[in-house]
């Protein structure tokens, strides 16, 4: 044997021999023992004689970050959240960290980044809370280097748009739309002729967010699309673009419906009355603007056409007509046969344009009618500035003829942020009423869960009280989890301030 052969090389040839087996090579007596003895000798000497290779490479160093680390208790909470991830809570943690100007500890950063990269909706705050280390780590690990990673439009957005699958294109479009609305529209147009109807419809739906007159010509042209699905979607988007030709057409049509009856002179005051005159026939061109000719069951044909027109018309049509406030207009309509239809249409119109004045008036009108349609109210409240929304919501929760479940559901549907005062008052109102017994427990639990995610940390005790009052007997697990969640959030807020 060659004395210069290294133990590793000897082991390698022994490995080859033992793979085949000594029987196959017709070895002599004692061959097995000799092979094993060599293996023992060279094995030990290979391991004992191992010498490290000389490597010149190095990693790029992580750029320094002056931001301090998140406080210890907050860091511990983050690890706990990652063990049983609740995306909303992790995002809230990250938002607190970003607001406080602190970052995730280096040893925890990969756990956060790995979780984050696997999320369908990757929160910017979570990535930002990792500080510069997050960017550095993402640059080292391809699976964390997500194209939409930082929320910025990727440099190769155009290529990605051309090459990706539907779901990824949609995600890309949403993120581009948020940053560069015009570019998103350009992307859609670049493949418009080749994309299927389902894709085209979904892409147009994305444009609904912050749709403006810049999108209008393209959308108007889509009203003549070969697919009905796409035409409908384009009409839906145009209906929320103030100044669009579609809205102008609908406003014109509305003017034929809404009229003012000359003030009847009663001594001391003049009463202007608003009269509704639904269309007598369906105009063919309305179909192009997204109107349905056939009414759903339970609605008269003419009322149905009227509703659809008024929902797409400018609210100015009403106010400019008689110089009346929304409240006065609604008051005046009360005696009209089509009052219910008008309110539905006005709710849709107020939602489409996020008109705060009309929204307030409509909510108050519904309250007075004691006819609270939760979905409509929630949508109307959304249009209001924070303070007004809270005032009005409180009024509903306290006064409206709603069941406990509905009250919770309404509260749970309200957008953030919630002030501490509002949270306290709302939960106080909810604990005023004891559980009526049998109710839709699943819906109640769901609503309570939503509230637990939004309630101000200062109102946690009131929240717990309200939850306890809303169930007769022992709390179901869902409600217990919600209380835990609210407490955890409150603790989390405290952990960042200590």
């Amino acid at each position: 044997m060659n004395a210069l052969t290294s133990p590793q090389e000897r082991l390698r040839s022994l490995g080859a021999a033992v793979t085949i087996g000594t029987d196959r090579v017709g070895s002599a007596q004692g061959a097995v023992d000799a092979l094993l003895t060599d293996a023992a000798r060279f094995g030990v000497s290979a391991r004992a004689g191992w010498r490290p290779p000389t490597l010149s490479g190095r990693l790029a160093e992580c750029p320094p970050d002056d931001r301090p680390l998140a406080p210890g208790p907050a860091a511990a909470t983050l690890l706990r959240l990652l063990a049983d991830p609740d995306p909303a809570l992790i995002e809230e943690w990250a938002q607190l960290a970003v607001r406080r100007g602190v970052v995730v500890d280096a040893a925890a950063a990969p756990l956060v980044l790995d979780w984050w990269a696997r999320q369908p909706r990757r929160s910017e705050a979570v990535f930002a809370a990792l500080g510069r280390r997050g960017e550095w780590l993402a640059s080292l690990n391809a699976s964390w280097h997500k194209p939409i990673a930082t929320g910025e439009v990727p440099a190769d957005a155009d290529d990605l748009w051309q090459l990706s699958k539907s779901a990824e294109r949609l995600a890309l479009l949403i993120s581009v739309r948020r940053r560069e609305p015009a570019r998103a529209r350009a992307l859609i147009e670049s493949t418009w002729l080749n994309d299927g109807a389902n894709d085209r419809q979904r892409f147009l739906e994305v444009l609904r967010e912050d749709a403006s007159m810049a999108d209008e010509p393209f959308l108007e042209s889509a009203l003549d699309d070969r697919s009905k699905l796409v035409r409908r979607q384009a009409a839906d988007v145009l209906a929320v673009v103030s100044g669009s030709r579609l809205r102008q057409r609908m406003s014109e049509a509305a003017k034929a419906i809404v009229s003012v009856r000359a003030p009847r002179s009663i001594p001391g005051r003049s009463l202007t009355r608003i009269v509704l005159q639904p269309p007598d026939s369906f105009v063919a061109s309305w179909e192009r603007d997204g109107l349905e000719e056939r009414p759903p069951e339970g609605i008269g044909q003419r009322a149905w056409w009227m509703r659809q027109i008024l929902a797409r018309a400018d609210l100015d049509v009403w106010t400019s007509l008689a110089g009346m406030t929304p409240e006065a207009i609604l008051e005046s309509l009360k005696s009209d046969d089509y009052f219910g239809d008008a309110v539905q249409a006005l709710i849709a119109a107020a939602n489409a344009t996020s008109d705060a004045r009309w929204s307030t008036a409509l909510v108050r009108c519904l309250l007075d009618q004691r006819a609270i349609d939760l979905a409509s109210v929630a949508a109307l409240l959304e249009a209001l500035p924070d303070r007004e929304r809270e005032v009005l919501s409180l009024e509903i929760i306290k006064r409206a003829p709603l069941t406990v479940v509905d009250r919770w559901a309404l509260l749970g549907s309200l957008d953030e942020p919630w002030s501490a005062l509002f949270s306290t008052e709302a939960t106080k109102a909810l604990s005023a009423e004891a559980s009526p017994g049998v109710q839709d427990l699943a819906r109640l639990s769901r609503a309570i869960e939503n509230v637990s995610r939004r309630i101000s940390p200062d109102a946690v005790d009131g929240f717990e009280q309200a939850v306890t009052r809303s169930f007769s007997g022992t709390l179901p697990p869902g409600a217990l989890f919600s209380i835990e969640r609210a407490r955890l959030r409150a603790d989390m807020h405290k952990e960042f301030t200590s």
Partner: protein, 452 residues
């Protein structure tokens, strides 16, 4: 450092779920009758049962006891109690220990006394020498049979060839291993169980497998001549065969007093039990030591040594040519590790592997050896990760570690700059198990966990 920071308490949890559950319970609202004395804390926690659970913690070790039915140890109540104490000690009224606390503590004191009595005078104990000798002889005979059977099996394997054996069903390997467990040679059984794993370990598997077969062959040769071997070497052979090593023998050896730093801890699930490997380094002597704790089935693992901390005390080493496994003979207060804890570190990769080679020359069955590498950087070279020292010498990192998120925790903690890393070195690849981050020597647990 406060000895009971929430982080340290959480480190005592048997698993992340328990840590999390403990955290959730660690609020004053969940507890009643919270109390503390100089040596213990206690409290009542309302659980799902009618009676609240009685949780108590002996602060000296710490030791836990709770009346809940959980099999986890410590249970979430015990953890929560200690966490709460770490966060807000003022919530615990100072006062007399209630009976259920005092009794337990008294029991513990008695047990400890009995243990140290045994520790002090193992030889004074009346022993039935005759029946002991008989049992030993019986065992030796069975192991001899096991060794002979293993020899036949090994030679057969080499004759048939690994390529042919690759298609053997898993049950065949397991049967061969089980026979050796029955023959009271579990060390041989685990050799056999490792062979199919090595054969499936990717490129270079043949080299690693033949090395493993060589080691097994060497062990069998030694076992066949066990009566002729010098005492120390015989100890090593017995231990490699998997004989239970007697505590008395360790306690009879000269104890080594030092400030011991727990540089890393790995918990492994074995066939029917769990093992905790805790690596220690003596600050003054530079001695490396290994503490093994076992727990059968779902029994709790007693882990009184907190990784990343240190304690003053005496270790008693089990005999052997290169004593490594030890037990804690006595200890005083635990504490944070000092700034000079790197004094006994391996300053370069070469120095570290040289220490391993010395250990190997004394005990060729040395399987894992701890390297305390001061100042190494993680480096990616040709798609493989290395730990590279100041002389640009690299230690290859084990593939399993590279696939886990622990690699990225290490990379992230280093930020691309040198960091102190503890690895288990087996002569071929390194398994990082912990790191210490400056400026405060903060412990980063890198033991197998968090699969990617």
């Amino acid at each position: 450092m406060d000895p009971w920071s929430p982080e340290r308490v959480s480190a005592l949890a048997p698993d992340p779920a328990s840590a999390s559950a403990g955290q959730a319970l660690a609020t004053v609202k969940k507890w009643s009758a919270l109390g503390q004395s100089d040596r213990a804390i206690w409290g009542l926690c309302q659980g799902s049962g009618r009676q609240p659970y009685q949780a108590r913690v002996d602060l000296a070790e710490p030791a836990f006891k709770c009346s809940c039915p959980s099999r986890k140890f410590p249970c979430k109540h015990g953890l929560a109690l200690l966490l709460l104490f770490a966060k807000s000690a003022e919530a615990f009224a100072r006062g007399d220990e209630p009976e259920w606390v005092a009794d337990w503590l008294a029991n513990r004191v008695q047990r400890t006394a009995r243990k140290s009595e045994q520790a002090k005078s193992p030889v004074d104990k009346p022993v039935d020498l005759e029946s002991q000798a008989k049992r030993a002889a019986q065992r030796e005979a069975r192991v001899r049979d096991g060794v002979a059977a293993c020899r036949v099996w090994l030679e057969d394997l080499v004759r048939r060839g690994l390529a042919a054996a690759q298609s053997d069903p898993a049950a065949d390997w397991e049967r061969a291993a089980a026979r050796l467990v029955d023959a009271q040679a579990p060390g041989l059984a685990s050799f056999i169980r490792r062979i199919p794993m090595m054969m499936a370990s990717g490129p270079g598997w043949d080299l690693r497998t033949v090395d493993l077969l060589g080691r097994l062959h060497l062990l069998l040769c030694a076992a066949e001549r066990l009566p002729d071997l010098p005492a120390d070497l015989a100890h090593d052979v017995r231990s490699a065969l998997g004989w239970t090593q007697s505590r008395e023998e360790a306690l009879n050896s000269v104890a080594v007093a030092d400030r011991w730093i727990a540089i890393g801890q790995v918990i492994e699930e074995e066939e029917r039990f769990r093992v905790a490997r805790t690596w220690l380094v003596g600050q003054g002597t530079g001695r490396r030591a290994l503490i093994l704790d076992f727990a059968a089935g779902t029994q709790p693992l007693e882990r009184s040594i907190v990784a990343g901390a240190s304690f003053d005390g005496e270790l008693a080493f089990y005999p052997g040519r290169q004593p490594l496994r030890a037990l804690v003979k006595s200890r005083s207060d635990a504490g944070a590790i000092g700034p000079d804890f790197l004094q006994p570190a391996d300053t370069t990769v070469e120095a570290g592997v040289r220490r391993y080679a010395e250990a190997l020359s004394l005990n060729p069955w040395t399987y894992r050896w701890p390297l305390l590498l001061a100042g190494v950087r993680p480096v990616l070279h040709d798609d493989r990760w290395f730990l590279v020292d100041s002389q640009n010498h690299g230690l290859p990192v084990r593939a399993g570690f590279v696939r886990s998120l622990q690699l990225w925790r290490l990379v992230s903690a280093s930020g691309g700059t040198p960091i102190t890393v503890v690895v288990e070195w087996d002569g071929t690849t390194a398994l990082p198990i912990s790191a210490f981050r400056e400026p405060v020597r903060e412990y980063v647990d890198l033991a197998p966990r968090w699969a990617a």
